[in-house]
Amino acid sequence: MHDTLKVIVGLALFFALVTLPFWLGAVRSAPAPAPDLTAKDTQCVEPVAYMRANHMKLLDQWRNSVVRDGDRVYVNSAGKSFQKSLTKTCLNCHAQKEKFCDQCHQSVAVEPYCFSCHLAPGQSLVLTSGSRLTVADFSTPMDGRQ
């Protein structure tokens, strides 16, 4: 029983290895997300702080009320009406999802599946034939938007 030194060194080595990612992270932190905040309209449907924390809940309410209740108009806290539409209302201002949505989602490693069905204008779909389809801009005006 004279292996105390070996045990201590081994433990220290083990501890250092296990915590290595933290030490590396302390030295160089991941780049902060930089969403593009230059929007056409200066005011979002709700205040920025609320949207930052609750946009996913709002979008969930929107999709349920549109699909299940056919209720397509959202009246915000200031009494202004908007069409409940991810692509026609949200993307109308935050035009490029790569520069807005994806920035934070990638940073916090969440993968919402909105765009596996919904189409963003300018988005490119890769076909089995190898060719590409580009999603055009919306042809109809934002009818619910006032």
Partner: protein, 263 residues
């Protein structure tokens, strides 16, 4: 056992309370059931409406597929190039396939020769809604049997339940098999069932379904079956019409006429 009047009254009272409580419990369960017989209205969906379609096969042209093209383009319906995996919202099939329980012996030439237009019947009593475990398929207050693609888990119970073959399953990623893409309507994902939605996204903004709008012979009439003065009710009053497999009690909202009208 000697029963006193007091004990008898106590037992009678508790039995009555228990019975009333159970009845109320059962009633509240059925009232909030997914298959509730009386769907409630909501801001975007009016009550007292049941959307239906009248298909005039005397006017429908045999070689024409304008309505199919219009529907499938507007809704980004993929073409997998394989009849086994075909996605169909509206399509044409033989009379024998569309009306398999109709009279088939010594069939009139006009019925034997001409493919019949087929789509989701938006049944008043839809079996697909009853079997859906996630309520992804549900009946709206205006009679449209709608799909919430967000909730579909791809179990395909609805495909087994539908007596009309109106539902298709995406065995592959539909996005890779589009000929063109319409940004107005989303695509689907792999593993999701889809079907005709009576253009709920269009009638919600006051337009007619794409197939009805496109038909150049006015063979399709869309309207409110509960409105006695609607054009569709006028057609149903003046023409001899048929629903598909009426013996099943699904009460389809799509009506077919085969003989030319005299009006």
């Amino acid at each position: 056992m000697n029963k006193s009047r007091r004990n008898f009254l106590v037992q009678l009272g508790s039995a009555a309370l228990f019975g009333a409580g159970t009845a109320a419990g059962i009633h509240s369960l059925t009232a909030t059931s997914a298959f509730g017989a009386t769907p409630t209205g909501s801001p975007g969906i009016p009550k007292g409406t049941r959307w239906g379609m009248f298909v005039d096969m005397a006017r429908c042209e045999a070689g024409c597929s304008d309505c199919i093209t219009a529907c499938h383009t507007k809704h980004n319906v993929p073409d997998f190039g394989n009849p086994k995996d075909e996605i169909k919202w509206i399509w044409k099939d033989s009379y024998a396939k569309v009306f398999p329980t109709g009279s088939q012996q010594f069939l009139a030439q006009q019925l034997a020769d001409k493919p019949v237009l087929s789509l989701c019947n938006h049944c008043a009593n839809p079996p697909c809604v009853k079997v859906c475990p996630t309520q992804a398929t549900f009946k709206r207050a205006d009679g449209i049997v709608e799909m919430d693609f967000h909730r579909c888990i791809g179990c395909r119970f609805c495909m087994a339940a539908c007596p009309y073959g109106s539902r298709s399953f995406n065995w592959r990623n539909p996005r890779e098999f589009l000929k063109q893409v319409d940004a107005e309507y989303p695509t689907r994902e792999i593993g999701v069932v889809e079907k005709c939605n009576f253009c709920s996204e269009r009638i919600g903004t006051g337009r007619q379904p794409a197939c009805v709008e496109t038909c150049k012979t006015q063979a399709l009439v869309f309207g409110n079956l509960y409105d006695k003065n609607s054009e569709i009710r006028e057609k149903l009053r003046t023409r001899v019409t048929f629903q598909r497999k009426p013996e099943l009690g699904t009460e389809p909202s799509v009506f077919y006429a085969f003989e030319a009208g005299h009006v």
